[in-house]
């Protein structure tokens, strides 16, 4: 368990989290491993975990009729997979596939939500870390939607 706590606290996403909050988050954590091609989760399933990537990449996919799976984003080591656990109805809105061997820390979302409700300082700390990720991904999505490379440079 001590090893897992250290890994969580040293993960890029939780850098500088502090001893107390680090222990609270680590209490909801476990190791996870996915082989290439294996799905971390599918669209519509309960968003009951999110992942801190330690090794390997994850492809975020959407499926469209007649087009199959379309990769809309890839996430790399040091990044987090999944933000749908933050907002009701806590369901994934896309598929997440291991692009190669993936080693990650899985965080039990229900466990962390409960701790955030009980300790709003922890909740605020989580929001300060997740909101920039949400904003960065929103901005990236806006840029993607503009299809800027379709226009002359």
């Amino acid at each position: 368990m001590e090893g897992l706590e250290r890994i969580v606290k040293e993960h890029q996403f939780f850098a500088g989290l502090g001893e107390e909050f680090g222990n609270l988050v680590s209490g909801c954590a476990k190791n996870a491993r996915f082989d290439a091609g294996q799905y971390l989760f599918h669209e519509g399933e309960a968003a009951d975990q999110f992942y801190l990537l330690r090794h390997g990449g994850v492809a975020i996919e959407l499926s469209a009729p007649g087009r199959g799976a379309i990769t809309v984003q890839t996430l790399a080591e040091g990044e987090i997979v999944g933000v749908s656990w933050l907002v009701p109805p806590y369901r994934w809105t896309y598929d997440a596939r291991a692009a190669g061997l993936v080693r990650a820390i899985a965080i039990d979302a229900a466990c962390l939500r409960r701790k955030c409700e009980a300790d709003h300082d922890l909740g605020y700390e989580m929001m300060k870390r997740f909101v920039p990720v949400l904003v960065q991904r929103l901005e990236a999505t806006q840029l993607q939607m503009l299809d800027v490379y379709g226009a002359p440079v």
Binding site: A99, E139, D147, Y149
Partner: protein, 290 residues
């Protein structure tokens, strides 16, 4: 004031910069849908003429009877007899250019403008952030950096494209990647699930790149909105405005700063650019009126 000054039309001797020389297409290859690369030689009494340019400079290419457009050089500056331009067919002249074939004649004026600051990059990590066809004006800088590899720190190419099929210079990128002289990350905006590379906009590659922001310089080229986002990401990574250069495109006509078509605030893109240090144009980039 301009941080650098270079001749408006270097390598032209005493020739009139408004007078096109006749050149011929020697080779043509397709690099992406609607994107073609043309190898051109300037003829001088039947002999190919040497042509010296700085990475980032452009030429005015004329399709006789159709019109003239500015196109950046995309070839190796060390190859003085082989002029390479990569063109996307988006308008009447560029479409006519891409319709030309080996042996066809075109008019050429140039080289014009201020290119990438190769001397200022010496001893520093160099981040090349390119989007779409923006890789073409950066390719001469990459050739120069790799030819003089020992003079620079890390060389990192971050390239974003619309889809895997739109990636320019794909074989060359693979060859560079194998050489280990350069770190290359390519991302596409969307892809089928069989694509094994990154998916997402090019700006998402910047926080993942490993460089020393205090001793780095960045060259950025792509659609203007992509450059704005890329510059924001570079600044967030620790680069200051004096270390970020971008290539701006405007409606260039005379190419020597006389006609005013490419006026961009207080500067003329054809004469003072197209490559600018970011602090010189940052206030202008977000202005809708220009």
């Amino acid at each position: 004031m301009a941080p650098r000054s270079e001749p408006l039309a270097s390598g032209r001797g005493a020739l009139d910069p408004m007078l096109p020389r006749v050149a011929r297409v020697r080779r043509k290859r397709r690099d992406a849908p609607e994107v073609w690369t043309l190898d051109i030689e300037i003829e001088n009494g039947g002999e190919a003429e040497d042509f010296v340019f700085t990475p980032g400079q452009f030429n005015m290419l004329t399709v006789f009877g159709v019109g003239e457009v500015p196109i950046s050089m995309s070839g190796d500056p060390a190859e003085s007899r082989r002029l390479i331009h990569t063109v996307r067919a988006v308008g009447a002249v560029s479409a006519a250019l891409t319709d030309l074939g080996p042996g066809d004649a075109i008019g050429l004026r140039g080289p014009f403008g201020v290119g990438w600051p190769m001397e200022e990059a010496i001893g520093r990590d160099v981040i090349i952030a390119a989007g779409g066809l923006g890789l073409a004006p950066l390719r001469p800088a990459l050739y120069r950096l790799l030819a003089e590899r020992a003079r620079y720190g890390k060389i990192i190419l971050l390239y974003g494209s619309r889809s895997p099929g739109d990636i320019l210079f794909r074989h060359e990128i693979e060859s560079w990647r194998r050489s280990l002289d350069i770190e290359i990350e390519v991302t596409v905006d969307h892809a089928a699930s069989d694509w094994r590379g990154h998916v997402g906009v090019v700006t998402t590659l910047i926080p993942r790149a490993d460089f020393d922001p205090l001793h780095a310089i960045a060259f950025v080229c792509g659609p203007e909105i992509m450059m704005r986002f890329a510059i924001a990401a570079l600044r967030k990574a620790g680069l200051n405005d004096e270390s970020i250069y971008l290539s701006v495109e405007r409606n260039m006509k005379c190419a020597v700063g006389l006609c005013g078509h490419c006026q961009f605030g207080t500067v003329f893109v054809c004469r003072d650019g197209p490559v600018f240090r970011h602090d010189r144009v940052q206030g202008l980039l977000a202005l809708k009126e220009i």
